[in-house]
């Protein structure tokens, strides 16, 4: 599948109808999502025929992108039932198979053997401090191949240090810097659209845990 085609399909997905600020629910736009998964597959072969988990999947955009690129088994995990319902409908509309589990990532207990790749657009941790790193911690425990994640560019040094020192990453690399356009979703947003600089990361979990 071509990048443009993937972006087009993701552009048709339903997004949060009433986003919840306490969960920092922001949709992952088709531009970012398509590039994230396309890069993961074309540069690293981390998607096609793999088991992929989408952590904090929201409306399912990243996981569905993985499914469209031929992932064999895709599981979206989210704490919020309303999001999972939309994600479920989105999978149905695209006619792809995606599995869902309703769970808090902090209390998720999975083996570290089956999932190859975790993809995620975690909360940036502006509402609940450290939420971004809690997600990364959970992802690094589960993935056996690689973790792809988005983090604010302003946190780059911090993310790198924690990933290598505390989460036993054997590598932590920024693949590119993207503009994340945050639409005016919440009442406290004063501007129509705000661009935030975010890094697309690829982490490789260490062998010993």
């Amino acid at each position: 599948m071509k990048l443009k085609q993937l972006e087009g399909l993701l552009g048709s997905l339903e997004q949060f109808s009433s986003p919840k600020i306490e969960l920092e629910q922001y949709p992952t736009g088709p531009h970012i999502a398509s590039r994230m998964l396309y890069t993961a597959e074309t540069s690293y072969g981390d998607v096609t025929s793999k088991v992929v988990a989408d952590f904090g999947c929201g409306c399912g955009t990243l996981g569905l992108a993985a499914a469209l690129l031929g992932a064999e088994h895709v599981i979206g995990v989210d704490i919020d039932a309303d999001s999972l319902e939309i994600a479920y409908e989105n999978a149905d509309d695209l006619e792809v198979d995606m599995e869902f589990v309703q769970s808090d990532l902090k209390s998720l207990r999975w083996g570290d053997r089956i999932v190859d790749t975790v993809v995620m657009n975690p909360p940036f941790g502006t509402r609940t401090k450290g939420a971004d790193m809690d997600f990364l911690c959970a992802a690094m425990k589960v993935a056996s191949g690689a973790v792809y994640s988005l983090h604010k560019t302003t946190t780059r040094e911090h993310v790198k240090r924690i990933a290598l020192r505390d989460y036993n990453a054997s590598s932590a690399e920024v693949l590119c810097e993207l503009r994340y356009d945050v639409p005016q979703l919440y009442k406290f947003h004063k501007k129509k659209v705000v661009d935030i600089a975010v890094d697309l990361w690829r982490f490789v979990p260490g062998k010993e845990r």
Binding site: H73, A81, D97, E99, Q102, S103, R113, I114
Partner: protein
């Protein structure tokens, strides 16, 4: 929910040490066809918890999997297709996943297991 997903989940209640595998109570199951990918399925053979899969498949009414896997079976296509079917095609649509240690039931609705814990379980 495919049995591959079941094979990854365990009860995450505080204090539970034997949370795997979750027992299955079936209200409704469905079958969805998936293309057979021999490389993927061979790779899964060394990753899944075999005994848990056999029991789960049996709970879902599928008793075609052998109790143990032997080395030569990786080249046996008939066996691999049964494994493929059990792992990817059988879905628990409605029912419960039951914690083997406490008996706590996690509901499965429209194929989505709800693993959220109550405050006193975290």
């Amino acid at each position: 929910m495919r049995l591959l997903t079941h094979n990854m989940l365990s009860s995450n209640i505080k204090g539970v040490t034997q949370g795997f595998p979750l027992q299955i109570e079936v209200t409704k199951s469905i079958t969805k066809q998936v293309d057979f990918n021999p490389d993927f399925i061979k790779n899964m053979l060394v990753k899944v918890e075999w005994k848990a899969l056999v029991e789960a498949a049996r709970a879902m009414g599928y008793g075609e999997l052998p109790e143990t896997v032997e080395v030569g079976m990786v080249e046996d296509e008939d066996f691999l297709r049964k494994f493929h079917h059990a792992l990817l095609e059988i879905h628990l649509e409605e029912g419960f996943l039951v914690c083997p240690q406490t008996g706590r039931k996690f509901p499965v609705c429209k194929g989505i297991p709800n693993m959220l814990l109550n405050e006193d379980e975290v």
